[in-house]
């Protein structure tokens, strides 16, 4: 009970902090919304369709799914990893370890913060897609979407937490993470349909969770039935990330010699 209170208090203050952080707001909230409007306005003509591994969806639906996956990638992987590296390098995590608060409550609060921001983004992006671009969401699609959003958050957050173990300082984080995000976005069907990728590149992309999240969300929005393979790969990445994070996560600054 008191643990639940600790989790919720920390989640609340993390959300307050993120809402006041302009960089975080622009990158994880404003960016996908602006891109959604831009892509739909610049690239899509009324009757365009996109082929996705045998499923045909209209281009508005395709880009709405893209931006939903992109928002989960940015909030779960990029923003989470960079904020954790900053908190670690500035000593905030070390300070927290010196209090009686159990470390796991901080981690759960951090993931819950992502759940809240991603949940908000999902509603906003789907609302824009529906009202501005006539994207239809059926009842069964809603259930599949929810599953992909949950698994996507799990995979991205645990990959983001695990990634911090490989990043030594804030400079490396702000250089490496956006690069990883751009490359994964390009090969995972967020900006360009996966059907247009060379086979070898699509095979590389299939190793990573972003591909399965993006194609899964796009297909679900397009009314295709759930692809268990996509869901399974996301779940595996989630579990793998947690295993790495549990063993390798570091709480003390790495940039200064001990």
């Amino acid at each position: 009970m008191s643990e639940l209170r600790l989790v919720l208090t920390q989640t609340g203050y993390q959300l307050v902090s993120v809402a006041r952080n302009r960089r975080a707001v622009v990158f994880s909230l404003v960016f996908p919304i602006v891109l959604l409007v831009m892509f739909n306005s610049v690239f899509v003509k009324g009757t365009d369709t996109v082929d996705l591994n045998g499923v045909t969806v209209d281009a508005h639906t395709y880009f709405t799914g893209s931006m939903l996956a992109y928002a989960i990638l940015l909030a779960g992987f990029n923003s989470l990893a960079i904020s954790l590296v900053m908190q670690r390098e500035s000593g905030q995590l070390k300070r927290l370890r010196g209090t009686p608060v159990p470390s796991w409550t901080f981690m759960v609060a951090t993931v819950l913060r992502c759940v809240v921001t991603v949940g908000l983004m999902t509603l906003v992006l789907l609302a824009i897609g529906h009202f501005a671009y006539d994207v239809q969401i059926s009842g069964s699609a809603a259930g599949d979407l929810l599953l992909y959003v949950v698994l996507g958050i799990a995979a991205m957050c645990s990959a983001g937490i695990a990634a911090t173990a490989l990043i030594g300082d804030v400079d490396s984080a702000s250089a490496a993470l956006p690069l990883i995000a751009v490359v994964l976005s390009l090969i995972s069907g967020i900006f360009v349909s996966v059907d247009q990728l060379p086979t070898w590149l699509a095979d590389v992309a299939r190793v990573f969770p972003v591909y399965h999240l993006t194609t899964g969300v796009q297909a679900a929005l397009g009314g295709a039935s759930l692809d268990a393979g996509n869901a399974a790969v996301l779940a595996l990445w989630g579990l793998g990330g947690i295993a790495v994070a549990a063993r390798r996560f570091r709480w003390e600054p790495q940039g200064v010699p001990a």
Partner: protein, 326 residues
């Protein structure tokens, strides 16, 4: 160990008797910490009694932060014994953390939260925290309670560190260089706050490189040099164990040489330019003979003063020995 520091060592041994556990907030015995081949701490032993303010002094690299971080539960010792509030700090448990408060070096707080939000967040981690407004008041932050931490001055931010350190109303507080970067007014305010903690019966372990801070605040002081404790005790005790005698100083009266004065005062006199200097452990009889003679002869000893060594001078002497004897 050089012969010059033997009296200090002798005093060190005399000043760390075994204190019963219920009286010692911290007990350290023969503690070693090695980073690879380098030894940061080489057999340190001391006690901090409940209710006292104990200051660890030493030049940079002497091992102060390593010592305090072992006691805070951040680092493992290589060998030796350590007890903090009766528990092994190498295995920090939640119940134990609830009883200690930390003010670390170079640890920032979330810049986007206000002072009040930050204190409220940290207070929520403890079972019986101090009232949030009381903590803010005690840390001298009443005027900036609604300001974001990231927009405060360096000195104000340090006070927020202190505020979150005392938010849980801990029995034992670790302050690692708490006033670094403070202006003189802010330091005085911090000192009276730390004094106030002693008034509430709390125990404080402080590291500092400001001698006046240790002298002003600490009941007892331990001086670290190269990973070894070279002196421990009150300022007076440390002073008594050193060759650092009191200084009697005055302008050499015209027509007298040093040896004339030495004959009258019954103590050796050094002459530096116009100044006569007498170094003596107990200045009273020397002063009596000197001033009686001067009054009798109608001589005015201009600029006469007796100077007690300050902690700063003792510290310099203690930490300089290494250089002399290497």
């Amino acid at each position: 160990m050089s012969s010059a520091s033997t009296p200090v060592k002798a005093q060190l041994n005399g000043a760390t008797p075994d204190i019963p556990d219920e009286l010692a907030a911290i007990a350290v015995r023969d503690l070693h910490k090695a980073y690879g081949p380098a030894e940061a701490l080489r057999g340190v032993s001391f006690d901090v009694r409940r209710g006292e303010i104990f200051a660890l002094l030493g030049p940079n690299g002497a091992g102060k932060t390593t010592m305090i971080e072992i006691l805070e539960g951040y680092r493992r010792r290589t060998s030796g014994e350590a007890r903090v509030l009766g528990a092994d700090p190498g295995r920090p448990a939640r119940r134990w953390r609830e009883r200690i408060g930390l003010v670390l070096q170079e640890c920032e707080l979330d810049p986007n939260l206000t002072v009040r939000e930050t204190v409220r967040l940290f207070s929520s981690f403890y079972p019986a925290p101090r009232l949030v407004e009381e903590t803010i008041e005690l840390a001298g932050l009443a005027d900036v309670g609604d300001a974001r931490v990231g927009r405060l001055s360096g000195g104000q931010r340090r006070r927020v560190d202190v505020a979150v350190g005392i938010a849980g109303d801990p029995e034992l507080i670790f302050l690692d260089e708490p006033t670094t970067g403070f202006d003189p007014t802010a330091r005085r305010a911090a000192w009276s706050m730390i004094d106030g903690l002693r008034g509430l019966g709390r125990t404080v372990l402080l590291t500092t490189h400001y001698m006046d801070e240790a002298q002003r605040l600490a009941d007892r002081i331990g001086i670290l040099r190269d990973g070894e404790l070279v002196a421990i005790g009150s300022v007076e005790e440390i002073g008594a164990g050193l060759r650092n005698d009191a200084l009697i100083r005055f302008r050499l009266p015209e027509g007298f040489a040093g040896h004339h004065i030495a004959d009258e005062a019954g103590a050796p006199v050094e002459v530096e330019g116009e100044l006569a200097i007498i170094r003596v452990a107990d200045p009273q009889p020397v002063l009596y003979r000197l001033t009686s003679w001067a009054v009798h002869e109608g001589i005015h000893l201009s600029g006469l003063e007796v100077i007690r060594p300050t902690l700063e001078e003792m510290f310099l002497e203690l930490t300089a020995e290494e250089v002399e004897h290497e």
